[in-house]
Symmetry: C2
Subunit: 118 residues, 2 copies
Amino acid sequence: MTVQDIANDLVALCRAGDFDTAGQKYWADDVLSVEAMPGDMAEIRGKDAVKGKGDWWAANHEVHSSEVEGPYVNGDQFVVRFKMDLTQKASGDRIQMDEVGLYTVKDGKIVEERFFYA
Amino acid sequence: MTVQDIANDLVALCRAGDFDTAGQKYWADDVLSVEAMPGDMAEIRGKDAVKGKGDWWAANHEVHSSEVEGPYVNGDQFVVRFKMDLTQKASGDRIQMDEVGLYTVKDGKIVEERFFYA
């Protein structure tokens, strides 16, 4: 698969709300996931740990609707934009999230995902 | 200025159509500009050379309207999305361009800009 193929498939899975499958299919075993925020979730390494972050996120947010744009590809990297209308369960706050993910591919797997916030 | 400040100002200048000022103000002398496309414009280094690319682009495209979204910030990097309705003067083709730029900042200047296409 080319980087474009992987990017297209990841976007299709995310559009279907199937973030977990996207990760299981494409994360490298030692994937590094980098958030913009401070704190102990800022940098997480390893497929199991990143899946754990995703599970935590899914359990703590209610997504009312989402929009996925892209992919935007350059060489071994691609960008995806995510817009979500969600409620943070802990606070009850409803938020319009707008972020982009920058993915780096090596040997057909995502070795890094890095998230940027508007 | 923080990376967020630079990102905000660059987006404001681009929204005003003033891409040249944005570059002159923030490009580092040895800035590297990376396009997704093959060819001799793919990687260009140096403020003057990158300005030359911008001048070439401006002379060869007619922009009917544009939309700039962002910035999306993470650490020393930020992402901006550009949508443009433009005509390529050479071919006469009218194109809906959709791309994102990933900018890396060091010591208050942009040391790399990398463009990704949908």
